[in-house]
């Protein structure tokens, strides 16, 4: 069996097996922080970094880890990495750290990370595992950004506001389209609605592509996704 190319794996992480959209993992931070684009981007970057590092470390130590104690070791590795990321955010992105608050330490509880350690990194070489962390983390981060942008646009009528929290400098208001917006979008129910819309949109696109493919080559249906 040949390992699939990077592009193919990237598509898997971003689309076919997106941790948030398809596997529905890590929904707590996903729903909680996506009230704006910058928050989604910040948590996305933090999660991506932790996922890549944890996949790398789990893969590097996989030969010495006995099956019975693998879960405590994953927890140990992930918790240490999250603590490091939290310190780094506090040092270099203090405003973003304030804005994300408890959700940085809570990356520990993002089951997408332990799931990738268990399913992928514990059985594959380091390079491949880091790539897996990158594609899965990117899929999660892009979903966070998309939902963040959508809710910010709808709820506050702006886009990319407060990017200074990530880039430094004076507070910026971003692209202001309207003054104020539809409030429920940035309240908790808006998070559920937005995620539901994103999942529905993905399913609709998948179905349309599937039908198109079937029409093109009758009798030879390929990948069917939910």
């Amino acid at each position: 069996m040949t390992s699939p190319g990077f592009i193919e794996r990237f598509k898997t992480g971003l689309w076919y097996e997106n941790p948030g959209l398809v596997q529905l993992l890590g929904l707590c931070p996903l729903l909680a922080v996506t009230s704006s684009f910058v928050n989604g981007l910040g948590l996305g970057i933090a999660t991506l970094a932790v996922l890549m590092a944890s996949n790398g470390l789990v893969s590097a130590t996989r030969r010495w880890i006995q099956a019975e104690i693998r879960i405590p070791i994953y927890v140990l590795i992930i918790a240490s990495l999250v603590t490091c990321i939290e310190l780094i955010f506090k040092a270099w992105f203090p405003a973003l750290d304030r804005s994300l608050g408890i959700f940085i330490p809570l990356i520990v509880t993002n089951c997408a990370i332990v799931a990738r350690a268990e399913v992928f990194a514990s059985r594959n070489p380091i390079g491949s595992s880091i790539t897996d962390g990158f594609v899965m983390g990117s899929g999660f981060a892009l979903l966070l950004m998309a939902i963040g942008a959508f809710r910010e646009l709808l709820g506050q009528g702006s886009l990319f506001a407060r990017m200074d929290m990530l880039l430094g400098g004076e507070p910026v208001r971003g692209l202001v389209l309207t003054d104020g917006g539809w409030l429920p979008a940035i309240l908790p129910p808006g998070a559920f609605f937005s995620l539901a819309l994103a999942i529905a949109a993905k399913n609709a696109i998948d179905r349309r592509q599937h039908e198109k493919r079937q029409r093109a080559m009758p009798g030879r249906a390929r990948r069917v996704t939910r």
Binding site: T61, Q66, L76, S80, G155
Partner: protein, 215 residues
């Protein structure tokens, strides 16, 4: 002896040691920057009440903590930063909590000069409804600036309310609970300052002083 168990224990110990070392190293590399960030954040958050004052540096070192029970707004300890020019008191910056907000305490900064005039107000922390109550944030509207230069003489204490309640201050569209809570807290802080300004600027630490009298 159970060698499998022994091996597991060793593995766990080694990985725990490596992880701890990683965290310790990161901590060492970031600790200085984190302390500097927190100090900078504190100084920046006090700035709205310091603008236009003449003072000699070191505001954050002149902090006193007034533990509850006190007559200031909020049930938790209040923080006061005293501002001096050389050894003359200039102003006191109160960090207190308005209790009657829509969702949880609203942490506010109230600067009052020695004449009892408000030097600046800012909302530091709150959980008010996004889009409604959060309009009190200085980054979202100029609402908090209307208190600059006001005192208990301007308006009289009865005028310290939103216009809808017969007072002299603007409210916000769609939100009256949050402004009402903040105005009440500012007024209570002004009343407290009026009664205790000498204690606040006295060099004796009022906390220590209070404990002594209680014993």
């Amino acid at each position: 002896m159970n060698t499998a168990l022994f091996r597991s224990g060793i593995t766990l110990a080694v990985i725990a040691a490596v992880c701890t070392a990683l965290v310790a190293l990161t901590y060492r590399l970031t600790a200085e920057q984190i302390v500097a960030n927190e100090q900078a954040w504190l100084e920046r958050s006090l700035q709205p009440a310091l603008a236009g004052l003449f003072y000699t540096s070191g505001v954050t070192e002149s902090k006193i903590i007034i533990p509850p029970p006190h007559e200031l707004p909020g049930s938790e300890a209040a923080i006061v930063y005293r501002v001096y020019a050389e050894s003359d008191p200039v102003a006191a910056l109160f960090v207190v909590s308005a209790r009657d907000g829509y969702a949880g305490p609203i942490r506010i900064l109230v600067g009052i000069d020695t004449m009892g005039v408000v030097t600046g107000v800012d909302v530091l922390e709150h959980q008010e409804t996004p889009g409604l109550g959060d309009q009190v944030e200085s980054s979202r509207s100029g609402w908090v600036r209307q208190f600059n230069g006001r005192s208990l003489l301007d308006p009289e204490p009865t005028g310290w309310a939103i216009k809808g309640d017969g007072g002299q201050f603007d409210q916000l569209t769609g939100a009256s609970v949050t402004p009402r809570a903040i105005i009440k807290a500012i007024k209570e802080t002004l009343l407290y300052f009026d009664a205790h300004s000498e204690d606040i600027f006295a060099d004796v630490d009022p906390v220590a002083n209070k404990e002594e009298t209680e014993q």
